[in-house]
């Protein structure tokens, strides 16, 4: 089974990478492709400012689950909101819940307790997958989680284990152990790392993989190298070069250098995507989906006409 097919069987796909590399666009691309392959898919974005809706051409979610296509939904998640809901649910009495939610103790706890927001985010995904979401939540096969940027992405994946080591009894402990098992189970949870062929993103991608090995004891399923410049024309010796072509050549050379470094440090399935002259929106998403499928065929040997990936 190729890595793309593997990913399409996961319940949870976590997409992570350095800020600014196009993580959200890739999360949307994966979500769309999974949906096209028949999986009922929700793309969850954890960012105070919403972006994913733009890619899919739907209104901002504002925290709600919004349908984008026949089997595709999006949601912008605020971890704090999820926590507040958990408190409401546990305390049942509105008056008591209000007192807790308004208290400075809770406020500081929610803002500062290590791992809490991460647990809330993953816990939310798990509940939806088990069909325990709020009334009106669609039945889902897969959740694609557009995780916060790298450093936080590792924290997200490592939080359940960290918390389960600190808290050894009670419901928090049960929940964190369950989530640690989910994140550690490559059959259920897929990890996709997005990067660009530039120095810092490559550095972070390599560090991220090491951090995942150290803290979650597993490797990502797939590496997506985004935003590559096309090969530049050969330079004619002695001829004064157009400035545009000069810039193109240098950016492409940087891409090639970093791609080579990435290949040495990371021998795993890899997708390569071109930089596209398109603004963020449905047209870009459609193009990315197509180029994704093409790269999957070329680099991963995914055959023609295989489901959504072709």
């Amino acid at each position: 089974m190729n890595p793309i097919e593997q990913l399409s069987r996961r319940q949870l796909v976590v997409v992570t990478g350095k800020g600014g590399v196009g993580k959200t666009a890739i999360a949307a691309t994966l979500g769309r492709s999974l949906a096209a392959a028949g999986r009922r898919t929700l793309v969850v974005e954890v960012d105070p400012r919403e972006n994913v809706h733009q890619m899919l051409g739907v209104p901002p979610s504002g925290g709600a689950i919004v349908q984008a296509e026949s089997r595709l939904w999006v949601q912008n998640l605020k971890p704090r909101q999820v926590l507040d809901e958990v408190v409401r649910e546990r305390l049942k009495l509105e008056l008591l819940a209000r007192r807790v939610l308004d208290s400075p103790v809770y406020h500081h706890f929610a803002a500062g307790a290590p791992g809490l927001k991460e647990l809330a985010t993953l816990g939310h995904a798990l509940r939806l997958l088990r069909g325990l979401g709020a009334p009106g939540t669609p039945d889902l096969d897969t959740i694609v989680l557009d995780a916060p940027a790298t450093g936080h992405g590792v924290s997200l994946l490592a939080a359940p284990r960290l918390v389960s080591e600190v808290i050894t009894s009670g419901p928090f402990s049960v929940m964190s152990s369950e989530l640690a098992a989910l994140v550690g189970d490559a059959e259920k949870c897929g990890i996709v790392v997005v990067t660009q062929a530039e120095e810092m993103p490559v550095e972070e991608a390599l560090e991220l993989r090491q951090a995942l090995r150290d803290r979650v004891q597993r490797d990502p399923e797939l590496l997506v190298v985004n935003g590559l410049y096309p090969p530049a024309p050969h330079q004619v010796p002695g001829e004064r070069e157009n400035e545009l072509v000069a810039l193109w050549r240098r950016r492409r050379a940087l891409n090639e250098r970093e791609l080579a470094r990435l290949k040495t440090g990371w021998q795993g399935p890899r997708i390569e995507l071109p930089q596209l002259p398109l603004d963020r929106g449905p047209a870009l998403l459609a193009a990315l989906s197509r180029c994704f499928g093409e790269s999957a065929r070329r680099h991963l040997g995914v055959g023609e006409g295989e489901g959504a990936w072709s």
């Binding site: 590399v21 936080h152 808290i167 009894s169 096309p230 240098r250 596209l276």
Partner: protein, 367 residues
């Protein structure tokens, strides 16, 4: 306006991740030393290349390291590391060896000091305060954490103050446990108390509560020094001599981020200096460009770069419309190669100054 000058001994560089903050901070520092000021640049996560350009390594986490730069002013660099700074802070404020050890060896502290929200951010300003007060530098340039909500670090002192002043601490500091590690009040309450204890154990876990209580007890003697320090740090950030430089990515997509930062800085009463739109694609006069590619996934460099130049120009125009005329707004062009050594960093610093001067000329001409 002049950016690198004696007017602003402290410059803080903010912006979203991946926009080139760290490189610009280093460029400004190199220029400042060139102009004769003893300068320190403090950064979080420089690229390998930048570390090589400055000639510093891991040792810069422990102390400020001199950069081998032949200039009228000295140049130092320091890397920020939350855990190290936190440990140092505890060493400083602990009244005696025993209380120091109690905190450092506490299970809860060991687990949380690197991960606790805002700690990294707070440690940045804490360390900043340390060097600003030392009088060793005429110019300090601080690069901020690479998070999308990098402004967290600005709020860190007030958050710590808020925490210290809130009831949370009073509750935490109460003498909860008896000698045997059992909850005091609940053992007084008999059967009911035991039920309460079981409930707490179920929800949070008694071991964790004991660790936390112990941590706060151990930490208590340090609080007063901490509180005073957080107040001073806040005053330093709001000083009119502290200037914030907001770095933004190019293109319309980045505008909301930039506006968000600018608004937050102003609301908080910080002094916003220039907004720098970094890595702006140049616009090219295209003659004899080949036709666009027929293959969607293989656009030509011609298509890409002229599209990017146009996109970035639109972004700049939009951004200029959204700011007042008095707001300095400059663009720094995308370089074919990122700076790899001190001369190229200095050149980048000069480009920034020149763009600022050009903005100044433009504003005075059109008014």
């Amino acid at each position: 306006m002049e950016l690198i000058s004696d007017r602003y001994p402290l410059i803080i560089v903010v912006g979203s991740g991946g926009v080139g903050k760290t490189t610009l901070a280093a460029a400004m520092a190199v220029l400042s030393a060139r102009e004769g000021r003893d300068t320190l640049v403090m950064t979080f996560d420089p690229s390998l290349r930048l570390k090589q350009a400055l000639g510093v390594g891991e040792e810069a986490k422990l102390q400020e390291v001199p950069v081998a730069f032949d200039a009228p002013g000295t140049l130092h660099a320091s890397l920020l590391d939350a855990r190290q700074t936190f440990d140092r802070l505890i060493e400083r404020y602990a009244p005696d060896e025993a209380s120091r050890r109690r905190v450092l060896e506490n299970h809860f502290y060991q687990h949380m000091s690197g991960t606790l929200g805002g700690v990294l951010e707070y440690m940045a300003v804490e360390r900043l305060f340390e060097v600003a007060g030392s009088g060793r530098y005429k110019q300090v340039i601080l690069d901020t954490p690479p998070t999308r909500q990098a402004l967290d670090f600005l709020e860190a002192p007030s958050r710590i103050l808020g925490f210290l002043d809130s009831g949370a601490l009073r509750v935490a500091l109460r003498d909860w446990f008896d000698e045997e590690g059992r909850l005091k009040s609940t053992s007084r309450w008999g059967a009911l108390g035991r039920r309460a204890e079981r409930f707490l154990d179920d929800v949070v876990g008694m071991d964790l509560l004991r660790d936390m209580a112990e941590f706060f007890q151990a930490f208590a003697p340090l609080f007063e020094g901490f509180r005073e320090r957080a107040r001073q740090v806040e005053a330093l950030l709001r000083s009119p001599q502290t200037l914030f430089v907001l770095v933004s990515g190019a293109g319309e997509e980045r505008i909301p981020d930039t506006l968000f930062f600018a608004r937050r800085l102003e609301e908080a009463g910080y002094h916003l200096g220039p907004v720098v739109v970094n890595r702006v694609h140049p616009r090219f006069v295209i003659e004899g460009a080949p036709p666009p590619s027929a293959d969607l996934c293989r656009p030509t460099g011609w298509e890409l770069l002229s599209w990017a130049g146009e996109r970035d120009r639109k972004g700049l125009i939009e951004l200029a419309k959204l700011f007042s005329r008095e707001q300095p707004l400059v663009d720094v062009p995308l370089l074919a190669d990122e700076p790899i050594d001190l001369p190229s960093l200095e050149a980048l610093g000069r480009t920034l100054e020149e763009r600022l001067a050009a903005w100044q000329r433009y504003v005075s001409r059109s008014s």
